[in-house]
Amino acid sequence: MTTATAAPPATATSEAPRRNTKRRYGPGTLTVVTWVLAILFVFPLLWMILTAFKQESDAYTDPPKLFFKPTFDQISGVLKGDFLPYLGNSAFVTIISTLLVLLLGIPAAYALSLAPVKGTKNALSFFLSTKMLPIVAAIIPLYVISQNTNLLDTVWALIILYTAMNLPLAIWMMRSFFMEVPGEMIEAARIDGANLPTLLRKIIMPVVAPGVAATALICVIFSWTEFFYAVNLTAARAGTVPVFLVGFITSEGLYWAQLSAAALLASLPVMIVGWFAQNHLVRGLSMGAVK
């Protein structure tokens, strides 16, 4: 009974610093900092978007022109060229490898979080260790293997590599989401009569869906923007968008406007996916961060 008197000061001290921080920095300062950072991050993107709608001659002026007669010449030029096959390759590789990652990663994450056995920790460390070797160190063997298995310059080489590349990260990420699933809820479902497939489909998946969506989005972004494997293992047939973009760097110099137009087209799909997934993404990322 006498211990009850000790409790209030503890809670008071834990709340006090938070209130002080707010007062010291104020919402105004935070807003300014946020804007400055946002502009810093957005500026290159803005430059790219503007340049994409310029004529090649407008793109080189110094200082850069903010006002000009916009044109779709560059964009239609890129679309008329061989951009679409590259886009197709990127889309195919990204979608298939992300699906594979989810297909393999969800059961793995479930097993490593909610149904752990002896060796779980080792398995997790092993997954992570596969990310420790720099890709550069493995590229020559990978090249040789691809050549021997006739996978060179095919989308399948990239699909396999991107799946392997994203899987460890996806398992770790999804595992942290699965860990947040309340144990009592799973027990309640078991008492309610759910077997494992029902439990996974009707109870666990809906609860971890935001986390899985966030993981999928990250896999999509990583696969879409991957350059090193693509440039080394593919050429004209299975090249992806990043490889295509490099094609604009020629010995005669850079075609800024055209490159910007191509880059804009390349980043559109990711932006669209990101836009749709942003709510899930924020919820998913913060959900993992709480504990």
């Binding site: 009974m1 006498t2 309340p182 009592e184 809820m185 027990e187 309640a188 479902a189 078991r190 008492i191 309610d192 009569g193 759910a194 077997n195 029902t198 009707k202 109870i203 809906p206 609860v207």
Partner: protein, 362 residues
Amino acid sequence: MSAEVIYDQASRVYPGNPGVRAVDKLSLDVPDGEFLVLVGPSGSGKSTALRMLAGLEDVNEGAIRIGDRDVTDLPPKDRDIAMVFQSYALYPHMTVADNMGFALKLRGVSKSDIEAKVAEAAAMLDLTKYLERKPKALSGGQRQRVAMGRAIVREPSVFLMDEPLSNLDAKLRVETRANIAKLQQRLGTTTIYVTHDQVEAMTMGDRVAVLKDGHLQQCDSPRELYENPANSFVAGFIGSPAMNLTTVPLTDGGVKLGDLTVPLPTAVLTGAREDGLSEIVFGVRPEALRLVGEADDGFELVVELVEELGADAYLHGKVGDDRFVVRVDGRTPPRIGDNVRVALRGEGETHAFNPSTSLRLG
């Protein structure tokens, strides 16, 4: 279909060397329709005992029966039980109606039957307005009722409740406590209820089983536990504030508390003599003590703390090395630092225990 529940020497041993016996040879017989409360401090094995009955925890030794079925090795879903969890464990992505109907849906009950049963339970729990809401749009008390509803809808043989009120605020807890007890009487379903709160145990249970360190200490009606605790642990655990317990030397015909000689019943004295004791653990409840005048027989108590509860006040002080609490009239309590004289209200309100076995004497 309600049913009897029997724990037959049931143990849960966690692996290790030696294994930890979270529940040790628990034997309990809960008749059909009874509201049994398992109570004990944390780590006493009360939740484990409940989870063994639910099938969420293995039974390593002994057996558990529900009705005439041995459920020792059955999976949870085949035991015909429903459980209410401390966190409520609602499905966050389902509406209240879906939460309550989930078990029936898995059982393949027709949609119209599910709706009817959910509606009936919702009416009982005053949840009809909220059936289409998700759990996150409900208050704590409403969530608690949904968890209850989920259990009721299934019409199980046994309700299991694991501290279902501990996430509610004090006022709501008292209210819900009464509602659950009422509901259980109305449904007549055997209920095993786990709590660490002995007030909940006393007010809700037909019988209360007190556990400590995985061992059953005593299982009796609340009144019996209060008046005839089987050992000094139960004596100190049941009742709020707790019974005053102090180890004192035995004298001819009684014990000495300070200046006061307290006579003990013959049965107690005989028991103590048979056990060859020179001292005993003497217990007296705060309400069995009273303040007396300077000249009267009594023992000295220096008031260290006064808890005023309105009708009553509790004085805390020390007798020897032991804390003593005395209930006094709330209107004119002494002040901190006062020296008061305390005596027993009447005879027969004392308890005596063997200090080494802690068992009740007499």
